[in-house]
């Protein structure tokens, strides 16, 4: 029965929210629905985490808990099932998504046309949650696209600046990525088994292990690039600066906080999990690309003057680090990658929330036109400093543990390759990636110095007010989460580690 499985409720609750919002009369009711729903989702995901930690291993199917599968389009020749199941990473991602949705709905407390806005926002979140709970290629792809398309209207209608251009560009580029992805997935389907009983089910495909190396060389780039576009991989990242710059606050939060994670998640969950040989043989190409985007994003962030552009580029750099670490094919590094996803998700959401709040008051995002915010709106300014510290990897906040894990893992891998005569590519790019911590410090402190400190640039800013209670709530929540990851990393590490154990993840096993 469908509703016996807890995971279904991650899609069901948003659907109910959708219905609820549709029935709402005024903004108060809409807020109520949004808050109640997202709180329920948080509760659900927290329960899931707790349940996951104590669930006995036998209940898992290839490391997937709450596994179950229902027939969907299952006439012969096309057996599409709706298969759900979660492991540590998905659980963590679900938690992240629900938190961001919660804070996001607070951040858009006074949005115009609330009804339509929340309808689209919730539709987007349906896509996100669905993507994280399903392990069936078709369903994953469907939810993936469900999550993409609302961006167009959310940016187009509620956005600011050059919104038409940005919205169209973002949608088309992401859809372009998903075009390649679709071909890759169908290709995987038709090579999913040796005996003609093709399947879309991730686990079965992995078990069959029937994709010939030659086909992997063709399908791996398709899928990896397909997801990589959403992961802001160089050179397919250019949607991100414009898109984020024009998007309304909550959308930037959800998009940078959660949606970009879909890219990284898909990269290892589909591309690398199913096609280990190609993952090992072709890793170097994408290592170069992602390694570039790590420093490239950081460097270009150094000279931007628009707050959102700065964060967009820093997202390019951080998400580049995620993909980079995933490509290390090393348990530690990949664990770090997922922690980086969590950390980046939270702190980027925090950043965009704060930027939105500041922009809502000053009506400019140009840091040369602002200054001394610490004096004017101390609460927001302090939050901004904390976010910045998290972003440049201050211990005790989430950024540090993620980056440290990644660097240790990648360095181990790089040295191992180097000594094994496997070339020094990984080593060199690890060191290059390490340099990004300095560059990050440069641009973060540049912003903090220009925006928060120093004399007040514009006299009109002096009568601006500090954060309202809902803004305080949403930012405080995020800060608490960031600090939680930073102070108790082992908890999350245990959550995530299981996914990347070499017995389950053949790509890693091969790499040893």
């Amino acid at each position: 029965m469908l509703f016996d499985n807890i995971l279904i409720y991650f899609v069901l609750i948003p659907m109910l929210m959708l219905a609820g919002v549709a029935l709402c009369r005024n903004i108060k009711q809409i807020r109520a629905v949004a808050v109640v729903g997202s709180t329920a989702l948080i509760a659900l995901s927290v329960y899931l985490v707790a349940d996951f930690l104590k669930a006995p291993v036998e209940t898992a199917v290839d490391g997937m808990y709450h596994y179950s599968s229902w027939k969907w389009f299952t006439a012969q020749g096309l057996n599409i099932n709706l298969t759900v199941g979660v492991d540590g990473v998905s659980v963590a991602m679900l938690l992240l998504s629900s938190i961001i949705l919660f804070t996001g709905s607070f951040a858009s407390w006074t949005i115009a046309q609330p009804k339509a806005f929340f309808l689209w926002l919730i539709l987007l979140s349906i896509g996100v949650f669905g993507f994280f709970i399903t392990i069936d290629l078709f369903a994953m792809f469907m939810f993936y696209e469900v999550a993409l398309i609302p961006m167009y209207l959310l940016i187009g209608v509620w956005g600011s600046g050059n919104k038409n251009y940005s919205a169209m560009k973002l949608t088309l580029m992401l859809m372009g990525g998903s075009a390649f992805l679709m071909l890759g997935l169908i290709g995987i389907y038709y090579h999913s088994s040796a005996d003609g009983h093709y399947t879309w089910n991730l686990l079965e495909i992995a078990r069959n292990n029937a994709i010939s190396t030659g086909w992997q060389y063709f399908l791996f780039p398709m899928t990896f690039v397909g997801f990589g576009v959403l992961g802001a991989m160089f050179p397919f990242h250019t949607w991100s600066p414009d898109g984020h710059a024009s998007a309304p606050t909550a959308v930037s939060m959800l998009h940078a906080g959660v949606l970009m994670k879909l890219g990284g998640y898909g990269c290892f969950r589909v591309a690398m999990y199913l096609m280990p040989e190609a993952a090992n043989d072709l890793a170097w190409i994408f290592l170069i690309l992602t390694g570039i985007s790590v420093v490239y994003g950081a460097f270009s962030a150094c000279v931007q003057t628009d707050l959102k552009y700065i964060n967009a580029y820093s997202s390019v750099s951080h998400c580049g680090l995620v993909l980079f670490a995933i490509l290390m094919l090393n348990t530690t590094a990949m664990t770090g990658a997922v922690m980086q996803m969590l950390s980046h998700g939270l702190m980027t959401a925090l950043f965009f929330a704060l930027i939105g709040m500041i922009y809502g008051r000053t009506h400019t995002r140009d840091i040369t036109k602002m200054g001394g915010m610490m004096k004017i709106m101390p609460y927001l300014a302090v939050c901004y400093v904390i976010a910045g510290m998290a972003s440049l990897g201050l211990p005790g906040l989430s950024g540090f543990v993620a980056e440290m894990t990644i660097f240790v893992g990648s360095f181990q891998q790089g040295m191992a390759d180097y000594l094994a005569g496997g070339g020094s590519l990984r080593l060199v790019f690890t060191i290059i990636a390490c340099c990004s911590i300095v560059i990050t410090a440069v641009y973060i402190l540049r912003v903090v110095g220009k925006l928060l400190f120093g004399p007040v640039q514009d006299k009109h800013h002096l009568e601006l007010t500090d954060a309202t209670w809902w803004e305080r709530l949403s930012t405080a929540t995020l800060i608490v989460c960031v600090a939680a990851i930073g102070c108790f990393p082992n908890f999350f590490e245990h959550l995530i580690r299981g996914t990347f154990n070499p017995e389950l993840f053949r790509a890693i096993a091969m790499n040893f």
Binding site: F299, Q304, G372, L394, G396, V408, G449, P455, P489, N490
Partner: protein, 691 residues
């Protein structure tokens, strides 16, 4: 023991959280009192812990042979990288950490107390953000304590970053002042750059330890084991499990073998780690942030940029000293860097106007002393001017100097703070002849100067003398070099002293605005520190703090005097006195001599005054090269090339769609033409292909 250990870390942290969150609802007075009391408690706890460690004779801390042991009070898993490697947070007690506990808490408490007076103006109006100031102070104390009691290199790195951050916050305390903001930014980024080296060094070490160890390499990273390496012949006296000791032995026997660019990876790792130390301890060429850091409130300068944080680099090297002993090349590098920095800083200090900057450069030069004395430490039996030198003397001397220097430099800074608070300006041209008006400040400042100049029996004399001895033991050249620097030190310190308190009478416009001694909250710390800097020299360090726990001297009150190497002592004394004489000749009374000298060597003066143009060089590199030649081009490339290509796709599609619109001409003939052509072409092409 454990509880007090935990409390030592917990109290400042809680104080930070409390003052940071609730501070702004507290009245200023209470915030200050609360912070000070908290620090006081911490200090007491630290004293008890240190006392227990050194003097209780507990078998945890000292074995039958009288060797001091390393004791891990507690150690908890924090982050697990992989089955072999885990970061732990813990509390390590050994001679240097105990010593540092004392130093940090003492100075920190003094500063907390002092700030109650300093952070308000003459009419008793509090600085804005007074509570924030105390919160940051607590944060810094917490991080610094965590750093010194680190049980392993990762924990050290973690707190290393934290002290950096809190120093950033404190330097930028006056955040409305652009100069302060840029100074804090500079400090953070420069040290961050250095930490990059530290990080990579750690990574290298971690990899090789992992490579050559069967078991769990977590232990291999605790200092207890890293520092317990048996070095040629000497058996390890620190208590570690044989297994981890084995790991370390393997590490150094094997990974010393793989060479990279002519040096063993171990050397590389240690040099990279030392790079981190250079950043924090402001060694050349990474020293540029420290002088600017004086933008922070003076108590902060006293605490962070004179006594505690800046010596973290020295502390790091001391921590890993047994490893450095295995890579003499690294030690030589340390020596050279230290020696050059010492001379450079001393020369620059002679030509500064701003008294805090003078003190800053003197700090740099003194820390360089410590570095050098670590760098010249070898275990081979050596002789200095006829007297034989204990092996590992330099290590002891360096720690000793760290201790004494912390005291008298804090004293000097707080004194300077008092002056600045009274005069309201940083440069001595506004002071001159203050001795009558501020007697207490005058005396204490004088004591500080004597101590740093190394006049017997003040603290500086003993430590500096030991350092010089160690230098002579290693190489005469460096010894002479450092002796000269010592002379310079005496000179510029007394130049400063005379220029502030003598030179010419202070003009007072009206009586009740005359500068005067500050409230007790500010003078009391001065007095205390002055007393300490008189007597600190007699602490029998040789029996307390040595690199491997072997006491090298007795523990009597006069040991230091008895064990003096009188030839070296005489030399250093003579040099110091000469320096002071010259300074007195030039600056006691207003005269033409300084101007004459300046005109005699204009180039030298300029270079010293402008700190050899290092800042300009850095400005050039960062702005012209990094920003101008890297960032902007990349940003341009991204907008115009990468993004341009994406837009080009769209543009081309549109162009094409306009280009082919002619087919839809609306004319039936055209349609039929196309139809026919299509059908025929289809047929013809297929025929060509198939037949």
């Amino acid at each position: 023991m454990e509880t007090s250990a935990i409390l030592i870390l917990a109290i400042p942290l809680l104080m930070f959280l409390f003052l940071g969150l609730a501070g702004k609802y507290l009245p200023h007075k209470w915030a200050g009192i609360l912070g000070t009391c908290g620090m006081g408690v911490t200090m007491v706890l630290a004293y008890t812990v240190a006392f227990e460690y050194f003097f209780s004779g507990n078998s945890f801390f000292i074995n039958e042979a009288g060797d001091r042991l390393q004791h891990v009070v507690f150690n908890h898993d924090w982050l697990n990288f992989y089955d072999k490697l885990t970061i732990r947070l813990g509390f390590l007690l050994d001679p240097i950490s105990a010593m540092m506990l004392v130093v940090i808490t003492t100075i920190s408490f003094m500063v907390h107390l002092y700030s109650n007076g300093y952070m308000r103006d003459h009419h008793g109006v509090w600085e804005t953000g007074f509570q924030r100031f105390y919160a940051f102070l607590s944060l810094f104390s917490f991080s610094m304590l965590g750093l010194v009691v680190a049980t392993n290199i990762f924990q050290m790195y973690i707190f290393w970053e934290l002290v950096g951050a809190s120093s950033y916050l404190l330097i930028g305390f006056y955040y409305t002042k652009p100069s302060a903001v840029s100074a804090s930014k500079k400090a953070f980024i420069v040290t961050r750059f250095a930490d990059l080296g530290f990080l990579i060094g750690i990574l290298v070490l971690s990899f090789y330890v992992g490579l050559y160890s069967e078991g769990n390499i977590t232990d291999a990273f605790t200092f207890t084991s890293l520092t317990s390496v048996p070095v040629d012949g000497l058996t390890d006296t620190f208590s570690v499990s044989e297994g981890t000791a084995q790991v370390i032995r393997d590490l150094f026997q094997n990974s010393a073998a793989p060479m990279f660019m002519g040096a063993s990876v171990l050397t590389w790792a240690l040099v990279l780690i030392f790079m981190g130390g250079m950043g924090k301890s402001a060694m050349m060429p990474l020293h540029i942030w420290l002088p600017d850091a004086m933008e922070g409130p003076t108590p902060v300068s006293a605490l962070i940029h004179a006594a505690t944080m800046v010596v973290a680099g020295v502390y790091l090297v001391a921590r890993l000293f047994p490893l450095y002993l295995m890579a003499p090349a690294a030690l030589d590098i340390i020596t050279v860097v230290g020696a050059i920095t010492a001379l450079y800083a001393a020369m620059v200090a002679c030509a500064q106007i701003d008294i805090k900057r003078v003190l800053a450069f003197s700090t740099i030069s003194q820390i360089a002393f410590m570095m050098v004395s670590l760098g010249v430490t070898r275990l081979d039996h050596s002789v200095a001017l006829g007297h034989e030198v204990h092996e590992g003397l330099g290590y002891m001397a360096s720690m000793f100097h760290l201790f004494t220097h912390a005291m008298f430099k804090a004293l000097l800074f707080l004194g300077a703070g008092a002056l600045i608070h009274a005069i309201g300006s940083n440069d001595y041209t506004a002071m001159h002849g203050l001795r009558k008006y501020m007697p207490i400040t005058h005396i204490t400042f004088l004591i500080g100067c004597l101590a740093i100049a190394g006049i017997i029996p003040f603290a500086g004399f003993f430590s500096k003398d030991e350092i010089l001895t160690a230098c002579f033991g290693h190489s005469t050249v460096w010894a002479i070099w450092m002796a000269v620097v010592a002379g310079l030190t005496a000179f510029y310190m007394f130049r400063l002293y005379f220029l502030i308190f003598w030179w010419k009478e202070h003009k007072v416009h009206d009586e009740h605005h005359a500068p005067h001694d500050q409230p007790w909250t500010m003078t009391l710390p001065l007095v205390i520190l002055a007393v300490v800097s008189i007597f600190a020299g007699f602490v029998p360090f040789g029996s307390l703090v040595t690199w491997n726990g072997h006491p090298i001297t007795g523990s009597g009150f006069l040991t230091n005097l008895e064990n003096l190497n009188w030839s070296v002592a005489a030399l250093s004394l003579i040099i110091a006195i000469v320096g002071i004489m010259v300074a007195m000749k030039m600056y006691k009374k207003e005269n033409e001599l300084p101007a004459k000298m300046r005109n005699a060597l204009p180039r030298l003066w300029d270079w010293c005054h402008h700190r050899f143009y290092w800042d300009e060089l850095y400005m050039f590199i960062t702005h012209r090269i990094i920003f101008g030649l890297v960032c902007r081009p990349i940003a341009w490339f991204d907008r115009h090339i990468i993004d341009g290509t994406m837009d080009a796709f769209a543009a081309v599609t549109n162009k094409v769609s306009y280009a082919i619109r002619g087919f839809q001409s609306g004319n039936v003939h055209m349609y039929v033409w196309c139809y026919l052509a299509g059908a025929v072409l289809l047929a013809v092409i297929t025929m060509i292909c198939v037949l």
